[in-house]
Every structure is written in structure tokens, then in C-alpha cells.
């Protein structure tokens, strides 16, 4: 059900752009208005979400410790998996963000009669995710050439590197190919791994269909309809410089591509895609495990009702004296009433 809903949604988006531009001639709307709104929503939305997370404090240090703690001098600490300083924590985060270290631990279970459990090598998700994200990044950077004049050197460098591995003619970028493969893999695993199929929601399929279609239309634009890149650049620069123009003669496939990207931008801040920002704020990863030797204050710490020693002794004094346990007040000097304290 989730799959169909998401698929239908993406097809509807494609049709909307196709009809809107191809039939109704809403070139300005799809070429300028929607992308502009999308950019604003994306930037505003991401900032809003991050600030909203930031508004909630982190009362306790709860890092997931994945290695030896800092302890006696002769026991080596695992500084990356159980960091105790800021720098070490940055190291841990770099590994998480750039290499998906936690995902790299992944295994797959197998159960046999007995019952006997096995845990097998399973790095495909890690590999595909990493491939997907890096290709996505490279593709994004390559797109910068539409928005910049002169085009920065690193965009050219990346393009050249990517093109160096070009497959076939007129030169399919390697990243494009890997991106499509990775997205396809992520989609297929959702469909065929029973656990995943059971937990997947429409919002898990939707971005994958969307990305797949964005990739497809992008490749079509570049290799098959041979869009006029000069014109695309005019349009792009127009949007970000607030002097929008919609040059004549850009094919409808490009508008579909642009519309889907706009959808992704609008969708991003309000969806799970915010994991990109969330990981940086995740308290099990971005905190040093230092709470045994460094004091931290909980901003909303409040006094709680405790059972004080005085109350305890009042309750048990007779038995304690009889057992020869020391007491604060002897039997004859003890008050009869117990007091409740609210000190924390």
C-alpha cells in the first residue's frame, strides 16, 4: 500500500510538470516560482528544524560507549569509540558522518535448528548507502557549475575526475551510474527483505522513487534531449540572483527534473531526510563519555522527594539499637514524628 501510494505520488508530480509546461505553458511557474519557493522552504525549514531540536536541552551524558573507557593509566583507552575529550568526540563524529562507522558494524542473523544463531557478514547496506551519499554529493557539487560564474576550480576538478571514469558515449558520469544503482538497491532491499518490507512506510518509498526519477530525468536531460546548458545556467543564476528569466527552448524533461528537485527540497526539512542534520545532534554519538570526571549540570534539575536517613532511623531505631548498629539519636532522645524532606 505504501509503495503504491508513493509511486502514484511521484507519477503525479511528473505528470503535473509535463502537463503544466508541455500543455499549459506554465514555464515561469515551474521554472522560477516553484524552485524559488522550494529554496526558501528548504533553507528556512532546515534552520527551523535544527533550532527546534536545539531548543530541547541535553540533560544527561548518554553516549553509547563502543570501546574501552578512559581508566587506569596502563589500560589503553579506545579514543574513537569511547571518546573522553572534545577532540576525540569530533573524531568519532567524523567517522560516523564520513564513513558511516556504526552502519559498518552491521551483521545479518541466521537461525538453525537447535536453536543455533549465527551472525553473518552484511556490509551491502553500508556500501550502498556510502556509494549513494557520495555520488549524491558529487552530483550536487557538479551542479554548482549552473549557479556560479566563473565556475570554482573544485567543480571543474571533480567533473574531470568523474568524467575520467566516463563510461560510453556521450560520457555517462560514473557517479550517475553508481547513484542509480545504489538507489535501486536501496529500493529493492526494502521490497525483498521481509523485516524491511514490514517496517517500511510510504515516506520510506517516496524519497527513493523521487530520487530515482530525479536521476532518470537528469540523465535523460543530459544524454538524450541534450538540453542547452547555457540556457539552464541563465535560469539558475536568475533564480539565485533574484533576476529570474525563463529562456525559450528548454525541453519539458528538464522542467520535470527541476520540479522533482524542488519537491525534494520542500519535502526534505519535514521528513526523515533530516537525519542529515540530526546525526550531528545525536546525544549517543556527539558527547564525550566524561561524566565520571567532569561535572555536568542538568538545566531542569529539580528537587525530588527522598527518604532521608533521619526518617529511616526513626523507623528502625529500635531494631538498629538492638542489633548494635550505631544511631544518630538514642532511643530516649528520639522524637516520635518523622519529617519529610524535599531536599534533592
Amino acid at each position: 500500500m505504501g509503495i503504491r501510494f508513493s509511486l502514484v505520488a511521484v507519477v503525479a508530480l511528473v505528470l503535473a510538470a509535463f502537463l503544466g509546461v508541455g500543455t499549459a505553458g506554465l514555464n515561469h511557474f515551474f521554472g522560477v516560482t516553484v524552485p524559488s519557493i522550494a529554496l526558501v522552504v528548504f533553507l528556512g525549514g532546515v534552520v527551523f528544524r535544527v533550532l527546534k531540536w536545539g531548543r530541547s536541552p541535553v540533560p544527561f551524558r548518554i553516549p553509547t560507549t563502543a570501546g574501552q573507557q578512559k581508566t587506569l593509566s596502563w589500560i589503553p583507552q579506545n579514543k574513537l569509540d569511547n571518546p573522553s575529550t572534545k577532540m576525540q568526540t569530533v573524531g568519532r563524529m567524523v567517522l560516523e558522518v564520513l564513513l558511516f562507522r556504526s552502519l559498518f558494524r552491521n551483521t545479518k542473523f541466521e537461525i538453525e535448528k537447535g536453536p543455533k544463531l549465527y551472525y553473518q557478514w552484511e556490509k551491502w547496506l553500508w556500501l550502498a548507502s556510502l556509494a549513494f551519499h557520495y555520488c549524491f554529493l558529487v552530483i550536487l557539487i557538479r551542479h554548482l557549475r549552473f549557479f556560479t560564474d566563473p565556475v570554482p576550480f573544485f567543480v571543474h576538478d571533480i567533473e574531470r575526475l568523474d568524467g575520467f571514469f566516463q563510461v560510453g558515449l556521450p560520457g555517462l558520469y560514473l557517479t550517475d551510474a553508481i547513484f542509480m544503482l545504489a538507489v535501486t538497491y536501496l529500493l529493492i532491499r526494502r521490497l525483498i527483505i521481509p523485516q524491511l518490507r514490514y517496517i517500511s512506510l510510504p515516506q520510506d518509498y517516496f524519497p527513493l522513487f523521487l530520487l530515482f526519477t530525479i536521476g532518470t530525468t537528469g540523465i535523460l536531460t543530459r544524454y538524450f534531449t541534450k538540453v542547452d546548458l547555457i540556457k539552464v545556467k541563465q535560469l539558475a543564476i536568475g533564480i539565485i540572483s533574484f533576476h529570474p528569466v525563463v529562456p525559450e527552448g528548454i525541453g519539458v524533461i528538464f522542467f520535470i527534473h527541476l520540479f522533482l528537485v524542488s519537491t525534494l527540497l520542500i519535502y526534505f526539512p519535514f521528513s526523515k531526510l533530516m537525519h542529515a542534520g540530526g546525526i550531528f545532534l545525536s546525544p549517543t554519538r556527539n558527547l564525550p563519555n566524561d561524566s565520571r570526571f567532569k561535572r555536568h549540570v542538568n538545566p531542569w534539575n529539580y528537587p525530588v522527594k527522598v527518604h532521608t536517613y533521619a526518617e529511616y532511623e526513626d523507623h528502625f531505631r529500635e531494631k538498629m539499637v538492638e542489633a548494635g548498629l550505631p544511631v544518630e539519636k538514642e532511643l530516649d532522645e528520639a522524637p516520635v514524628t518523622a519529617q519529610n524532606s524535599t531536599e534533592g
Binding site: 560507549t65 551483521t107 537461525i111 515516506q203 565520571r292 538498629m320
Partner: protein
């Protein structure tokens, strides 16, 4: 009480129902839930909605505005805990955590996949705290909070041991244990808890320990072990209680005072402290290391934990040593100083025997007995005869909390390797940070939950069986009081030839004490290697 199926009768299938998880209601049957909290225990703690009820009943006797209470409680916690907010928002359902939970592995119930456990709460979050969920409802995985949903929460947040194994594998560190803690806090707001959590918590609050042992009885029990030790090696230890001016306050889980095999570990502490002449005292007021408040709410955790510092202050000790316990150490590492500190009346712990300053505990001023002992051994302060443990082939179970809530891996291994000649690790996927839970933590170590405990403990037992078959392992060492109790049951069920030991029991076996008579048995009265003949003669 439910009948527990035999190991060979236990059906474990990892299939999926035809219906989606939202349309598959939780079914309570004997063996898959824990008995509800008794009214008197909720009252003792001043928790809301005390009453007698049963999960098997249709009517759970909730307050009429229960829904409002829960949603308000959610809002409050979202504002107080960034972890909660983020974990509600960023799961991509990649499934990396799905098969990492021992309860999923052992039960095959899809809702025991950590991701689905969290979705039980997340679906309600989407409905009431996100625009898309409000408008599109089920299409985006949002659903109304109904009584059935609440019942499902009760089922599955009390089928999670808060072990954090899932969080290790999540690319964003989403910790379903943290979600479970929030879920349990919310359930508590309307009086839904299990008695094996609130009972101990109430006892601890009023009597100082989970088992409700009163001061005089506490002293008696420990003195009983003094006699036991004397019978083994002729040494008479002299523990003191509630003594002002001692250098060290010692706190350990009360389970060690009460039940085998923890009692042998406790005898180990007594012997060690006696041998090194440590100036320490027990407390009958702070006579509990464990903290079942942690399995109730942050507030109850704080209320119970407060006793440690309060008592240390009253007695005027310099620092605290904590015994072998799992979640107690998670509380001490992650919460204690923030909740109940600053402990500025204590000093940074310095071992009186070695002079080692424990700067790693500079603010909590509480050190782990295993750290303390490791330092003694490293500095050659203990005379050890590991051959006294030669009848044991040992492996070590990392308890979840010291593992993933602290990073306490090398210290116990160092100690064990110094007191045992035969040691073998379990496979790497099942130890250290990847360790599998005993299946009975976080208050689920009750008898009525036995079937689920044996299921949840399967991955652990499976790894023990592996080294048992491969190396003849017959001893499972651990540094957690719950483990000592529950792994014993787990081993009896899955790997009957393996016996559970605390690390300090192994230390005590090997410890050569000044003035001891010739040792012929270990603490359990088993003949030491090479002494089998003698003990048989004695029997004659």
C-alpha cells in the same frame, strides 16, 4: 504462573503476519508479560493511579483523562530531552537495528525489532506532534493514541531490557533503550508499571534496598557470610556497619546479600577488604547499589540514587566503592553526579594500598570494585594462586550497562586472567560492545516472564554453548548482580553444564590470605583441584 516450554519445544519463527503492524493487536498471554505493579508499591513511591489490575482484563482502570495525561507527558519530555525529540524524528527505517535485539532473535515477534518498538511511540508522535501526521494520518505512519496502543506500549516497553545493543548499530545512534525509558515514564503517568520494578523500587526507597531487608537483618546476613568464610579458610573478617569516619563506603546490590550465587561474590568482597586491611563500612541505609528507579522514570532514579551521596556525607567517608552491578554503574556513570552532585564533601579516590589516584572518577568520587582490584593486582598487592581456579574453564559475559553505558571491558578481563588459568572469549559478535543481554534486565527478571526471558537470553546462551562445546567452558563470569541470578536460570535452561560466577568470587578463590588455614575447597565448598581426595576422606 505460565508453564515454560522445554528448550526443544520452544518454537522460534521469524515470520510476519499478513496484517500490517498497526493492525496487529498485542495479545497478552501467560509468559509474555510481567505482573502489574501492586497498589501498595505505587503508593509507597507516591506514583499515580495505584490500584489492582491485570493486563488480561479488558478494563485497565485508567484515569478518565489518561490520553491527555500521556500527550502532555510526551510534550513535556520532548521539551526536556533532545534525545527523545531527535530519535522521534530521524529514523530512516533502514533496518540495521532490526535483528540486533535479543528479544527479536529469540521471539521472532516483529514488534521486538528495535525499530518497530520505537515506531509504536513514533506513530503517536507523528499524529500529535507533526503536521503531516495530523493531516495525512495513517498514510504517513501516524495513528491515534487509543487504549489498544497504550496496551501495546505496555507489552513492548516491558519486553525491552534497555540494553542499547540496537543503538550501537544505528547509523544515527538512535537508542531504543532511551525510547523505552521515555515510554515507561509515560506509562507510569497513568499507573502502568510492573511489580518487579515498582516493588523493588518501593522497598529500596523505604528500607534502603530492593529486597526490603531491614537493618538488623542486613547485618545478620553479612555476619553469616563471615562465619561461612571462617569455615573455608579460618579467617574471620570484621565488617562494620554505618560507621562514621571510615575511609570508604562500600555499596553493592542487595541481591548479593540475599541469593546464591551472588552471596559468594559478596564473600569475595569481604575477604579482599579484610586481606588488604581497607578501612571501610557498609551502610544499611544505602544498602542497595541497583536502582530500579531507572526502569521507572528519571525522577525515581534520582530519588533512589540520592542515598549514596547522602550516606557518604553523613558518615564522613572520603569516597565510595561500588560493587559488581550492571545498571547501577550506568546510573553512576551517566546520571549520578548530574542528578545528585556535586559530591564536594568527598575526595578524589586514592587507593590506600597502591597510592593510585582515580582521576577517571574525579567528580563522581565513586570507583568500581573491579577497577580497584585491577589496580591492586597490577601493583602486586595481592598474593594470588590462580591454580585454585583450575577446576574452572571460564568465559566472561559483558553486562550491557557497563559495556555500552560506560565502556568497562579490560578491567574485568585483566582481573579474571590473573585469577584463572583457563579463560576463553566468546565469539566477537557477542562480547564487549556487541555483547548480548542476559534477557532479564531492566526489571524483567521475574518468574512469570520466564518464557520470554529464556527466549531473550538465547543469543547469550548460544554463544556460551559455543565455547562450552569448543573449549569445555564450564564457568560464566560476570560483574552484575542481576546476571548472577538470571544467567543461572538461563544456563540451566540452555547450557546446563555451565555455572555462573561473580568476578570477585573468582578473586576470593585465588586470594592467598595472611594466616589462612590450608584451603581445600572453594567458596562453594567444592574441592579445590588436587584436593578431591581429602574432601572425600572428610566425608567418610
Amino acid at each position: 504462573m505460565a508453564k515454560v516450554p522445554k528448550p526443544n519445544e520452544l518454537v522460534i519463527e521469524h515470520g510476519f503476519p499478513q496484517t500490517g503492524w498497526m493492525d496487529t493487536p498485542a495479545v497478552f498471554r501467560p509468559g509474555n508479560f510481567s505482573y502489574p505493579g501492586k497498589a501498595k508499591n505505587l503508593q509507597a513511591l507516591g506514583l499515580p493511579n495505584p490500584r489492582e489490575w491485570s493486563p488480561l482484563d479488558e478494563d485497565w482502570k485508567l484515569p478518565s483523562n489518561w490520553k491527555q495525561i500521556i500527550l502532555e507527558g510526551m510534550r513535556e519530555r520532548l521539551d526536556k530531552f533532545r534525545s527523545f525529540k531527535i530519535f522521534m524524528d530521524i529514523c530512516v527505517r533502514c533496518g540495521a537495528c532490526a535483528d540486533k535485539c535479543h528479544f527479536y532473535l529469540g521471539s521472532g515477534d516483529p514488534k521486538n525489532m528495535p525499530v518497530l518498538r520505537a515506531e509504536l511511540l513514533r506513530s503517536v508522535y507523528r499524529k500529535d506532534f507533526s503536521l503531516a501526521g495530523r493531516i495525512m494520518g495513517k498514510m504517513v505512519g501516524a495513528r491515534d493514541l487509543t487504549e489498544d496502543v497504550l496496551k501495546e506500549w505496555f507489552m513492548y516497553f516491558f519486553q525491552c531490557t534497555e540494553c542499547r545493543r540496537c543503538s550501537l548499530f544505528c547509523p544515527y545512534g538512535i537508542d531504543t533503550a532511551e525510547v523505552t525509558m521515555m515510554g515507561r515514564e509515560l506509562l507510569n503517568l497513568v499507573g502502568l508499571n510492573i511489580d518487579w520494578v515498582v516493588g523493588p523500587a518501593a522497598n529500596c526507597f523505604n528500607n534502603g534496598n530492593h529486597l526490603g531487608i531491614q537493618p538488623h537483618a542486613f547485618k545478620d546476613m553479612i555476619e553469616f557470610f563471615v562465619d561461612e568464610i571462617e569455615a573455608v579458610n579460618g579467617i574471620r573478617c570484621e565488617p562494620t556497619f554505618n560507621r562514621k569516619g571510615a575511609e570508604v563506603l562500600f555499596i553493592t546490590p542487595s541481591g548479593d546479600v540475599f541469593a546464591d550465587p551472588g552471596t559468594y561474590t559478596l564473600m569475595g568482597y569481604l575477604m579482599l577488604f579484610h586481606q588488604i586491611g581497607l578501612d571501610y563500612t557498609w551502610s544499611t541505609y544505602a544498602s542497595e547499589g541497583g536502582n530500579f528507579g531507572m526502569f521507572t522514570s528519571h525522577e525515581v532514579m534520582k530519588r533512589l540514587n540520592s542515598k549514596m551521596y547522602a550516606e557518604a556525607k553523613r558518615l564522613g567517608v572520603k569516597y565510595i566503592i561500588g560493587g559488581e552491578c550492571g545498571h547501577m554503574w550506568r546510573v553512576i556513570n551517566q546520571y549520578m553526579d548530574t542528578m545528585n552532585g556535586p559530591a564536594d564533601f568527598l575526595e578524589v579516590p586514592v587507593s590506600p594500598m597502591t597510592g593510585t589516584r582515580f582521576d577517571n572518577a574525579a567528580t563522581t568520587k565513586m570507583i568500581h570494585i573491579v577497577e580497584f582490584t585491577a589496580d591492586l593486582i597490577k601493583n602486586g598487592k595481592l598474593k594470588l594462586d590462580p591454580s585454585r581456579n583450575d577446576h574452572l574453564v571460564t568465559t566472561y559475559h559483558d553486562s550491557c550497562n557497563p559495556a555500552r553505558g560506560m565502556g568497562f571491558f579490560e578491567e574485568p578481563r585483566y582481573v579474571i586472567k590473573n585469577v584463572c588459568n583457563n579463560f576463553h572469549e566468546m565469539p566477537p559478535n557477542t562480547i564487549r560492545e556487541q555483547t548480548f543481554c542476559c534477557g532479564s534486565g531492566s526489571g524483567l527478571n521475574n518468574d512469570e516472564f520466564m518464557e520470554m526471558r529464556m527466549r531473550g537470553g538465547l543469543p547469550r546462551a548460544n554463544a556460551v554453548r559455543h565455547v562450552h562445546d569448543l573449549h569445555g567452558v564450564n564457568t560464566l563470569a560476570t560483574i552484575c548482580a542481576i546476571d548472577r541470578a538470571v544467567l543461572t536460570a538461563l544456563m540451566d535452561y540452555w547450557v546446563p553444564d555451565v555455572t555462573v560466577y561473580g568476578v570477585h568470587e573468582l578473586v576470593a578463590n585465588a586470594l592467598v590470605m595472611d594466616g589462612e588455614t590450608e584451603r581445600t575447597t572453594d567458596l562453594r565448598g567444592e574441592p579445590l583441584p588436587g584436593m578431591e581426595e581429602d574432601s572425600e576422606n572428610e566425608d567418610v
